[in-house]
């Protein structure tokens, strides 16, 4: 494309429009708010051009052209709803449906199925096909994914995903003609770390997650836009839940972070929400206590303590929670705040550039920016030394880890505090002997924001409806404590807490929950905030 051509003038449905050069008709039409139907097209994958549903009429061709692969050009005239275009798309829909089982009532894709959508706009209202339908296999392709072959429209999105994004190439199309169906090679199941994405990108109900099969109807579920807490990358997710229970997690597009993909750990790792060893009730000295007693006990333990206080935060906490910890620390005369974390996981990267971080915490950068760069290193070392020396009178421990793989040395040191308050997601040795044990919210139950490894601040939202929380969140309890200590008049929402944070920490100034939107913002001084974060002490 020559340097002078900054726009291409072409005609879309009789209206002259301008578009950047090099786009396909489908991409350019989308910029003009016109979505052309598609099955095999996916913005993250190569163009296959096999489904033929994106047919439009062109002044440059006697036959309809596919808009996913034809590019716009000066003087091109495209009709998307002419008789030729509609007839072409309608005919593709008729063909798509002849061998389709039409088992929407029992299909997990129903409600978000592209075939249903296009059948509604382009499909015939009855079938002229009266022959026997072709039967194709239903089988497991891997431990988490099965193929319901009869529903497969052979768009090859999943095959291209495994070729182009993961580079693992497990999937292929076997057989020919209307017997064609997606399969794996014998003995080589699809088990890569991004495998679950093929379920998301399957436009029909052919690839079904075993995890979600027959679990819920799409339209019944509440959909919450959030951010994955599985690692420090902060992939954007949508949590789909029914009656407050997460049913599945799917990828949410964010071109700056995860494009259209999430890893399987982020997708399937929400079972801990209902794990048997989850701390759900407060207890004091091992005895269960009710929520109100717990609140007053927390207030008393903190306000009556006149000695040296240590607070140990975890990088699963939101920026808002961390800010409240900071406020608490500044009200106490002698207090140090350190951070701890679980052992590193395994990093993985893929040919298309997708990476999974070894840091299994979503907000390590947030701890660095709010608590301080040395929270994990020198401060932590110092706190542990004080603990071991028996100098800490009150220790408040946050242990919101879904998978606590914690250092033994830390747990021993924790036990040496004279008084210990523990907020914990799961019960474990760090809870034993706590003077007050309080349940911790899980990442999917938090309202607030996380700062990812690249300095991007993103909103996390709870899947639990307001008023349905089984126990007060840390956000509520910390604010109640601050009120008790005379620090603030009342409790505010996480957005309100964020406003305080923005006015007190330079890196967060100019931001609010509303500026973060759906895809987050990179903090202007994000780089320095992320900086060199020390390892654990």
């Amino acid at each position: 494309m020559s340097e002078h051509a900054t726009t291409v003038t072409w005609t879309l449905n009789g209206k002259q429009v301008e578009s950047p050069p090099g786009l396909t008709i489908m991409e350019a039409a989308k910029l003009h708010d016109l979505e052309i139907p598609n099955f095999c097209y996916h913005p993250g994958l190569s163009i296959a051009g096999n489904c033929r549903i994106c047919f439009v009429e062109s002044n440059r061709s006697p036959k309809p052209v596919i808009s996913c692969s034809e590019r716009i050009a000066e003087g091109l005239e495209i009709q998307t709803h002419s008789e030729m275009a509609l007839e072409a798309r309608n005919s593709v829909m008729e063909f798509q449906l002849i061998n389709h089982p039409l088992d929407c009532p029992v299909c997990d894709k129903a409600g978000e199925c592209v075939l249903q959508d296009h059948s509604y706009t382009h499909g015939p209202d009855r079938s002229r096909f009266e022959e026997n339908k072709t039967i194709r296999h239903t089988k497991k392709l891997g431990s988490t994914i099965s193929i319901w072959g009869n529903r497969c429209i052979v768009c090859t999105r999943c095959v291209r995903f495994c070729d182009e994004i993961t580079g693992t190439g497990e999937l292929c199309v076997v057989e020919r003609g209307d017997r064609s169906v997606v399969d794996v090679f014998p003995g080589l199941p699809i088990e890569n770390s991004l495998a679950g994405n093929v379920i998301d990108i399957c436009p029909v109900g052919a690839l079904i997650g075993e995890d979600f099969k027959f679990e819920a109807r799409i339209w019944d579920m509440k959909k919450t836009s959030s951010v994955c807490a599985g690692c420090s990358r902060g992939c954007n997710i949508e949590v789909q839940s029914l009656d407050g229970f997460a049913k599945r997690i799917v990828a949410r597009e964010n071109p700056e972070v995860n494009e259209w993909w999430i890893c399987d750990r982020g997708r399937y790792d929400y079972r801990y929400l209902l794990a048997a060893d989850r701390v759900t009730d407060a207890s004091a000295g091992g005895e269960p206590i009710d929520s109100d007693t717990a609140d007053s006990s927390l207030n008393d333990l903190v306000s009556e303590n006149g000695g040296i206080v240590g607070i140990l935060v975890d990088p699963m906490m939101t920026c808002e929670e961390l800010h409240l910890v900071n406020r608490l620390s500044s009200t106490l005369s002698d207090c140090q705040v350190a951070a701890w974390s679980t052992a590193d996981g395994e990093a993985e990267s893929f040919p298309n550039g997708f990476t999974i971080s070894s840091d299994l915490h979503p907000n390590r950068a947030g701890v660095g920016a709010i608590i301080g760069k040395d929270a994990f290193s020198t401060v932590a070392k110092g706190l542990r030394r004080s603990l071991d020396a028996g100098d800490i009178d009150l220790l408040i421990v946050f242990a919101g880890f879904p998978h606590p793989d914690l250092e033994k040395k830390w747990i021993e040191s924790i036990g040496k505090a004279k008084v210990r308050i523990v907020f914990s997601l799961q019960s474990g040795s760090w809870c034993e002997g706590a003077d007050l044990l309080l349940p911790s919210t899980a990442p999917l139950e938090k309202e607030g924001s996380y700062l990812n490894q690249d300095g991007r601040l993103q909103r996390v939202r709870t899947l639990i409806a307001a008023g349905q929380q089984p126990f007060p969140s840390e956000l509520v309890r910390l604010q109640a404590l601050l009120t008790h200590l005379g620090e603030r008049p009342r409790s505010v929402s996480s957005s309100g807490v964020f406003r305080e944070l923005a006015s007190s920490v330079e890196a967060f100034s100019d931001q609010s929950h509303s500026t973060l939107g759906e895809s987050g913002c990179v903090l202007s001084s994000g780089k320095s905030a992320v900086g060199s974060m020390g390892g654990d002490a």
């Binding site: 296959a48 052979v154 003609g177 209307d178």
Partner: protein, 436 residues
Amino acid sequence: MAFKKVLTRHVGKKDCHTLKFYKKQGGYAQAEDAVKNQDPDALIDLVKASNLRGRGGAGFPTGVKWAFVPKHTDKAKYLVVNADESEPGTFKDRVLMEKNPHLLLDGIIICSKAVGIHHAYIYIRGEFVFAYRRLLEAVEEAYSDGLLGKGIFGSNFDLDVTLHRGAGAYICGEETGMLTSLEGKRGEPKLKPPFPAVEGVFGCPTVVNNVETLANLPYILEIGADAYKKIGPEKCPGPKLFCVSGHVENPGTFELPMGVNLLELINKHAGGVWKGRSLKAVIPGGSSAHVLHADECDVAMDIESLDEAGSMLGSAGIIVMDDSTCMVDALLNIMRFYHHESCGQCTPCREGTGWLEKLVHRIASGGGRHEDLQLIQDVCDRMVGKTICALADAAAFPAESIVKKFPEDFLHAIEQGGSPASRNRSRAAVGGGTDV
């Protein structure tokens, strides 16, 4: 001037497939001259001027195709010889490869010199075991005689030839399907553009030519473009192999000038319709072509004339059907083939070929209804021109033309409880073993 056979002139003689024999008849003289003395551009111009049209089916001008290949490129250029002859009714390339393999190599050298190619692949149909062996022998002979390899004919021009056997898919005879197969992938046609001349096999500029097309080259160099153009119609000249099969007394491959009359071909050369019966229908260009009714068969066998007659020269596979043929059964046979061979990539072809077979099968087995004929037409309309390659067209053309031109056979099957053959025997289940 009487027509002299060129491509098959020595077929039937002892050892006609050997290098010794071929050289004795003056073989490789043109290739040697081309490699040593000819300018590549002049060679392309000569082939353009000869009006040589591709013999694989589409009839694209060969010289024009070569000229599409970028002259200056950092990438390697390839020649891929389409020897995956799998169009039903076609067996001309097979004759060349079995009886006159050096003629093909001769043509490959000329094409390679013209386009600047140093590696040619011959993609040969997997079922052609004998042709493969003959070709392999020929390639080995050529290598040991310095006709292939480094510095051929003592020049500084290198040319390697690799044989690659197909695995039995019709779609791998489609040029881009063949290229994906050659790359080691599932044989599926590619979206165009980019065209193979710019981005073909392994992402490199590629010439794809049919065996018979290349076999014409030495003769064009020998007699020149003007003399070549005088053989047959000027726009579509040259010696041509016609394959006649079906209900004739003397089926076979016949070399005749392009433009020979179809009736003359059937009656004079192929011995006429067999058993004294009369002609009912002819498919003139492989099973993908529109069928010709007996009344339409007084036609010249060249690209333009058959286009005008509403059919196509295609691969010149002529299938003759006598008056005892039930066209419902004939169509079912063709539809079964395309249903079996559709690669399944594009929706209209994947679903349409199966639908057509099932429809025709139902009519043939006595379950047909009058409105099915219109439905066949509708399905064909919805398939034609809507897919990446022409397989959907290839399936739709015989279906729509046979139903249109022989409605009485279909009405008979609908009203009399099936085709005559099906009434005599119970038929096997429809394709893929899936119709239960």
